[in-house]
């Protein structure tokens, strides 16, 4: 019996209610219990590689569809994270008849679509077991409608042909579309901006998804679709793009539903020495304020110093003039980028490798490399942006010069602080995909060399690493609030610099399209979301925290990320042992929670 597992991504379940495992034969023999965590007996760590050697998961039992149904159909709930499948699933269930071929008798029952599987419950009177099909094995799908019923023909990769007769035209079409969407089974489709837009659209009507950049003509580094104020049309956006460096006009980065305000990002305006203005750009920002809570103030957070912003005018850049943007206040929070950041990284790694120095030498090197100072600055700027959105209930536009480095650092960290969803495993992956990869952080340039390279750095800068370090600091201060552990951050760091997956390839969406990255490589996310891997990357202590997490940015509270910088220098053994113990503790708890008296009542 080979084993196929559901993970929480698999079915739109929240992290606390994970469907754990399904074991099955080729078509329809045995199904293991599909048990949501906390509801039923289950192994907390899953089945395959539960670190606690005494996995309490019971031996396989005969399947019961009633159970499966109730488990599966409880969802999709409005859980944190893991929404992607639920959006693809148009309808959860329908009455259907399955024809498996000329010889086999037809099966009647309820058809269920889950993240990875198609299930057919034979109904209460039926004696036969559950029928199960992995959606990814579907090669082609064909639908026909006649009268008030429909037929779906599934041709599978193992050359099987299956026919489903479904009651109801609507149901037929919905099921067909759901299967169509899901069978691809490729994580490349999991994180488009469209997905985020769906969430925004649920919260507010003031924004729309614009495909003005469909052919990457406006902006080379933006994805095809961007979220912009509804009041601004595509023509205005085009003119607006001409006024911003690299065409990066202000787009929505995060909509903060509780206050109705937004976080935007862009690049610097091309005011130049003549202090040019752009009516459409001004109009866009005005529309942003109008779309938010009435009277909401706006802040423009420039990640350069005031002086640097002024100097940028010489080269055609600059910053927004106060007079031109009523309602917007400008703040400057200089963040290091580019070469100094890379040098800081190199020096820190050097210091970490020097084992012979004295204590004082170590501390002075730590100080001299400024890495922790960069962490502190990045976190405090992100906190400032987040504060603006949450406490001041203001709209915040973040930009530096190009808007592809420190800008993304600030917006993504601010979201992590504010948004509980982005602190889940899926949410965080989505955040990285949306705010770094799709937003056009030039990974190809920035991560070409790491700290040991002798090549003179040109475009290299560990901005993404700085982001990961800041996330680690957040995780250290709020050890229960992030669903992912240090492992995911380390994995992202590794893959950003060298990866067998295509996710971090290229520097922009356009390049990725040209290189056909999506069709020719695998997505890192599908790699990381394999149940076994995912379990390792999980933070076992995670408890959903609906509040904003405000970190302390005092130097006393920030630490060197030993897990990364000293990863190969000091033995990781003690911390591994500690995590084992954590798993063990939690496992024993789950075990007890799910326990039942050993002696059953004899009635």
């Amino acid at each position: 019996m080979d084993e196929i597992e559901f993970s929480s991504t698999g079915s739109g379940w929240g992290p606390r209610s994970e469907v754990l495992a399904v074991g099955w034969g080729n078509s329809c023999e045995t199904v293991r219990w599909l048990l949501p965590r906390g509801l039923l007996n289950s192994c907390p760590a899953g089945v395959a590689s539960c670190p606690a050697s005494s996995c309490p998961f019971p031996s396989p039992r005969s399947p019961r569809l009633t159970l499966l149904e109730s488990v599966l159909l409880l969802g999709p709930r409005p859980t944190t994270g893991g929404m992607e499948f639920s959006e693809l699933i148009r309808t959860g269930r329908a009455q259907a008849k399955l024809l498996r071929g000329p010889e086999a008798p037809p099966l009647r029952g309820t058809l269920c679509v889950t993240g990875h599987h198609l299930l057919l419950s034979p109904g209460p009177q039926g004696t036969s077991d559950l029928w199960l099909l992995l959606l990814r094995s579907v090669d082609s799908i064909e639908k026909r409608v006649s009268g008030d019923s429909g037929t779906i023909t599934l041709r599978c990769k193992d050359l099987r042909v299956l026919q489903l007769d479904i009651e109801g035209v609507e149901a037929t079409l919905d099921i067909a579309r759901s299967i169509e969407g899901l069978r691809l089974g490729d994580a490349w489709h999991f994180h488009p901006p469209e997905r985020y837009y769906k969430r925004v659209a649920r919260e507010t009507n003031a924004w729309r998804l614009s495909e003005v950049n469909e052919d990457f003509s406006l902006c080379l580094s933006y994805p095809r679709a961007v979220i912009v104020p509804r009041a601004v049309d595509d023509d205005a956006l085009a003119r607006c793009a001409r006024f911003r460096q690299g065409g990066r006009f202000p787009v929505l980065s995060y909509h903060h539903a509780p206050s109705g305000t937004v976080l935007l990002r862009s690049s610097q305006p091309l005011t130049g020495p003549q202090k040019r203005r752009c009516a459409e750009d001004e109009e866009l920002l005005r529309a942003v304020l109008a779309g938010a809570r009435p009277g909401a103030p706006g802040f423009i957070l420039d990640t350069r110093s005031a002086q640097a912003a002024k100097q940028a005018r010489v080269t055609g850049g600059g910053t927004e003039a106060k007079a031109a943007y009523p309602g917007w206040k400008r703040l400057h929070r200089p963040l290091e980028r580019g070469r100094p950041l890379q040098e800081s990284f190199v020096r820190l790694v050097e210091a970490c490798g020097d084992l012979e120095q004295s204590m004082d030498g170590w501390l002075s090197q730590l100080e001299a490399c400024h890495w922790l100072a960069h962490v502190k600055e990045a976190l405090s700027t992100a906190c400032l942006a987040a504060r603006g959105v949450e406490r001041e209930e203001a709209c915040v536009l973040v930009h530096g010069a190009e808007g592809t480095d420190s800008t993304l650092l600030v917006t993504s960290l601010a979201q992590l602080i504010l948004d509980p969803l982005s602190r889940t495993m899926t949410g965080f992956q989505e955040l990285v995909e949306r705010e770094w990869i799709q937003a056009g952080h030039p990974f190809q340039l920035r991560c070409a060399h790491s700290a040991f390279s002798h090549a003179c750095p040109k475009h290299e800068a560990p901005t993404f690493l700085l982001f990961l370090d800041c996330v680690w600091q957040l995780g250290r201060q709020f050890p229960l609030s992030l669903e992912f552990g240090e492992g995911l951050l380390l994995a992202l760091f590794e893959h950003a610099y060298a990866s067998p997956f295509g996710t971090f390839l290229c520097s922009s969406e356009k390049e990725r399209c040209l290189c056909e990255v999506r069709t020719r490589t695998h997505s890192l996310w599908s790699g990381l979301n394999q149940p076994k891997v995912r379990r390792k990357l999980r933070n076992p202590l995670y408890v959903p925290n609906p509040l904003a997490i405000w970190p302390s940015v005092e130097p006393q509270s920030l630490r060197l990320w030993q897990g990364l910088f000293l990863r190969w220098i000091r033995p990781p053994e003690p911390s591994q042992v500690a995590w084992e113990k954590v798993w063990q503790r939690l496992a024993s708890k789950e075990k007890t929670e799910g326990c039942e008296p050993t002696s059953k009542p004899q009635l």
């Binding site: 039923l40 019961r64 100080e367 000091r570 009635l603």
Partner: protein
């Protein structure tokens, strides 16, 4: 004080009876019967004193909540006992007269409740303790440290939020208590002003926020109570914790007073009137520097234990047992009575282990050649290879002096370890310091004079360097929003971590010598009571897993620090003395332990809180353990008869100090802790949790330890519940069997015939049961029938639907997962037993 006015107090007391009536939401003062004018008068008299404040400001509504006088000194009503005002020490004598009646319930007081009720009462009826208001600045609570740890406020026992078992019992730390009227210390006369109003407590992190409140000076504590009606936050500072008081320049807002505490709390108070400020300043200067032991808090501290319990507390840590555990006496080591009645060395304990071959003559001879007569004695015996760690003071060698007996003594130590033909002699001082000592007729062992020794210097700086290093580091901690560079530069400049590393390195060196080379080590510094204690205890900690347990750690401190005459009084300034004697010696040791804990999260049975509380109590003088400079002095003072032991207190609350990650089974944590061989600077980190422990904003907001402890506790609870239920189930089964038999054996139960055929009513039975219990379908393999399990499951699913879960949670006593987050407050078992009984009955009835 009560003794001063016995009759008067009796008379008034009969007028006063208090009833706590607790409803679920809030505690209220309830008149026992209709209030009379007389009762108001008596209360007004009570509250007329300045400390009661605002008697005139009361509204009629508030007045009606005042207690009514009846007969009986302490009438207990409902489940809350009435407590009577014990706020007296802070009142001036003249005011005490009017306030005396309140004290009469003394005999019937529940001491444990004192602070809460006292607070409530002292501030008059306006003060109504509710569950949410009981936030305390951790400073206050010795033993409580950061957490609200006092006896439960009346409101805290209200069902919601449900306090966990641990928080209700184990977290009940000893709170500061009033010294009690009979023990009114001599400190009273030093209080120039007992109370100052409109004082501002400045928040150190954000200077904008300043809490307005009232400052009280009592015989033992400085107390600041915030005016904010919704919090009423209290900050308590023990006088003995005060390190320095600084009066700063007067500004427009008032006169500023900066109080630095030995537990690293810093308070800045702004007092509106210069005169008040000066009074407070002068009072505190005196109060913070007691001149006699009797003035210390431990002599008035009374946790309401009887004599026997007190004695048991002192017996908890038994060094005799400890030496036995080490494997002593052995073939080579014996207990020596040479120091009986402290005849040879007055700073050593009376019971010491020495090599068997060392005769009394050798010991006495050696002691004469050692500074302060601290001759070499055993500190730790490593029974695996018979190597040992011995300690002494420096030899009085000068430039050329020799002592045959001392040489024989070292020889004896070497011979006591057959596995090695040499011993290490470790001088923990820098070489320069040791050489300088030679000019004063002291110094270090000359390798030429002693056969088969390997002499080694390990440069740990002296107490003065350490004192100023800590000073510098604390200055860095006090910086207002420093930049990263400021902080790291300051940390480097203070040299603190360098010193910590030096101590650790010494400990590692010795541990390696003992465990890997199998050689005995003699450790000394100058007098052998500071650096020697640090180094010996670090080495023991590395060598022996026993010292990494809760009790073992207490033993270690008792052995290497208390019994071997570490000068607690001088080093930690318990009594007013030479400021140059003060030095954070044991603080450094405690930090070394923390650094090790960070390195080896699973190796220690105790957690960070344990270390912090020990550090707190070394300075608090609330317990007698750390008083005086030597065992002899403690004996003379009869410490054990007059004070209580900290170890008993910590042991009682050990659930609070457990490290949930502790793995006794793990190979890595079992024997000697294996530290990396290369010197690691980065393993030493700034201990935020200690030096900035009162800046809550700087601490991690969620604690893994607390979370895991809660999980562990929950697991335990569930297991117990399970057990109880299984028992009950068995009983039910028996009853049912009988019942069925009476019904002429209608359906014989069988394992396999199953529910699919049986009728619904019986099938429902386990449903109700497990629905109530929120326990989930059976996985017992013997239960072959699927249908039953299935039906069960479905119903469980329904009942555990999120919308319903709250409901079922309350019933089952299984807490919601989300409450477990430490930030979400304390979690709790509910009133499970009662409910369960109900459900039990229900099961029975339906059956």
């Amino acid at each position: 004080m009560a003794d001063e006015h016995p009759t008067r107090s009796q008379g008034k007391a009969s007028l006063l009876t208090v009833k706590w009536q607790v409803d679920d939401a809030e505690c209220k003062w309830q008149p026992f019967s209709c209030p009379t004018l007389k009762s108001y008068l008596s209360w007004d008299a009570l509250e007329g004193s300045p400390s009661m404040g605002g008697a005139a400001a009361r509204t009629p509504q508030q007045s009606s909540k005042r207690p009514h006088p009846t007969q009986g000194p302490h009438c207990v009503l409902g489940n809350r006992s009435a407590t009577v005002l014990r706020w007296l020490p802070l009142l001036k004598k003249s005011q005490r007269l009017s306030a005396t009646p309140a004290r009469t319930g003394r005999g019937g007081l529940t001491q444990g409740r004192w602070p809460e009720h006292r607070g409530a009462r002292a501030l008059g009826p306006r003060w109504r303790p509710g569950p949410a208001r009981r936030t305390r600045a951790g400073a206050a609570a010795p033993g409580g440290g950061a957490k609200p740890c006092g006896p439960p406020a009346p409101g805290r026992e209200a069902p919601s939020p449900r306090p966990s078992r641990r928080s209700a019992d184990a977290r009940r730390c000893v709170r500061p208590r009033c010294p009690g009227p009979c023990r009114r210390g001599p400190t009273m006369e030093h209080i120039r002003t007992p109370k100052v109003e409109n004082v501002r407590l400045v928040d150190r992190i954000s200077s904008k926020k300043a809490a307005l409140g009232t400052l009280y000076l009592t015989a033992t504590h400085v107390i600041f109570v915030e005016n904010a009606p919704d919090t009423r936050k209290e900050t308590w500072i023990l006088h003995s914790q005060i390190s320095t008081i600084e009066k700063q320049a007067t500004t427009a807002t008032g006169c500023s007073l900066l109080i630095r505490c030995k537990n690293f709390q810093v308070l800045q108070l702004i007092i509106p009137q210069e005169r008040d400020c000066h009074d407070v300043y002068i009072s505190l200067i005196r109060l913070a520097r007691p001149v006699k032991y009797e003035e210390l808090y431990c002599f008035s501290f009374n946790p309401k234990l009887d004599k026997e319990e007190r004695e048991q507390g002192w017996m908890l840590i038994d060094l005799g047992e400890e030496y036995k555990r080490m494997g002593l006496p052995s073939n080579d080591w014996q207990l020596s009575d040479v120091n009986r009645d402290y005849r040879v060395c007055d700073s050593y304990p009376t019971e010491l282990y020495v090599p068997k071959s060392a005769t009394a003559h050798i010991i006495v001879g050696s002691s004469k050649f050692r500074s302060r007569r601290r001759f070499p004695a055993l500190s730790y015996y490593y029974k695996d290879n018979h190597a040992s760690i011995c300690r002494s003071s420096q030899p009085l060698s000068g430039f050329s002096a020799r002592c045959l007996e001392d040489e024989q003594m070292l020889q004896a130590i070497r011979k006591a370890n057959p596995g090695s033909d040499f011993i290490y002699v470790v001088d923990t001082r820098p070489k320069l310091n040791a050489m300088a000592n030679r000019a004063a007729g002291k110094g270090y062992e000359n390798e030429d004079n002693y056969s088969n020794i390997k002499f080694q210097f390990i440069g740990i700086e002296n107490i003065h360097v350490m004192r100023s290093s800590l000073q510098k580091m604390l200055e860095v901690c006090e910086l207002k929003s420093p930049s990263m560079s400021d902080f790291l530069w300051g940390l480097e400049n203070s040299g603190w971590l360098r010193h910590i590393k030096a101590i650790m390195d010494a400990g590692i060196f010795i541990a390696k010598a003992v465990s890997e080379e199998g050689a005995s080590v003699l450790v000394h510094c100058s007098d052998g009571w500071d650096r020697t204690a640090q180094v010996c205890s670090v080495a023991s900690l590395l060598l022996d897993p026993h010292y990494r347990t809760l009790k073992g750690f207490m033993v270690l401190i008792e052995k290497d620090w208390i019994s071997f005459g570490h000068k607690f009084n001088h080093r930690y300034g318990n009594l007013d003395g030479d400021p140059k004697e003060i030095s954070p010696v044991i603080d450094q040791f405690i930090e070394c332990v923390w650094q090790l804990m960070e390195q080896f999260p699973c190796a220690f049975e105790f957690n960070e809180r344990f270390l912090i509380h020990i550090q707190h109590h070394i300075y608090s003088c609330q317990f007698g353990n750390f008083l005086c400079n030597s065992q002899k002095e403690r004996q003379e003072l009869k410490i054990q008869e007059r004070t209580y032991s900290l170890w008993a207190h910590l042991w009682k609350n050990r659930a609070d100090y457990m490290n949930p990650l502790f793995r006794a089974d793990q190979s890595q944590t079992r024997g000697t802790l294996r530290l990396p061989t290369t010197p690691c600077n980065f393993m030493y980190k700034f201990w935020n949790g200690m030096y900035n422990r009162f800046e809550k904003g700087l601490q991690p907001r969620q604690s893994i330890t607390d979370y895991l402890m809660a999980v562990k506790e929950e697991t335990q609870q569930l297991e117990e519940e399970l057990e109880a239920l299984e028992e009950r189930l068995e009983k039910i089964q028996k009853v049912q069997l009988n019942h069925n038999k009476v019904k002429s054996k209608q359906t014989e139960p069988s394992k396999h015939s199953g529910f699919s055929t049986s009728d619904n009513s019986t099938a429902n039975t386990p449903q109700d049961y497990s629905g109530n219990m929120k326990s989930f379908p059976s996985r017992s393999p013997s239960q072959g029938d699927e249908d039953s399990a299935l039906i069960l499951t479905q119903d469980n699913l329904k009942s555990s639907d999120p919308d319903l879960s709250a409901n079922s949670d309350q019933e089952s006593g299984v807490e919601d997962l989300s409450c477990r987050s430490p930030s979400g407050g304390e979690c709790a078992p509910s009133e499970d037993s009662g409910k369960d009984r109900d459900s039990d009955e229900a099961v029975f009835l339906t059956a």
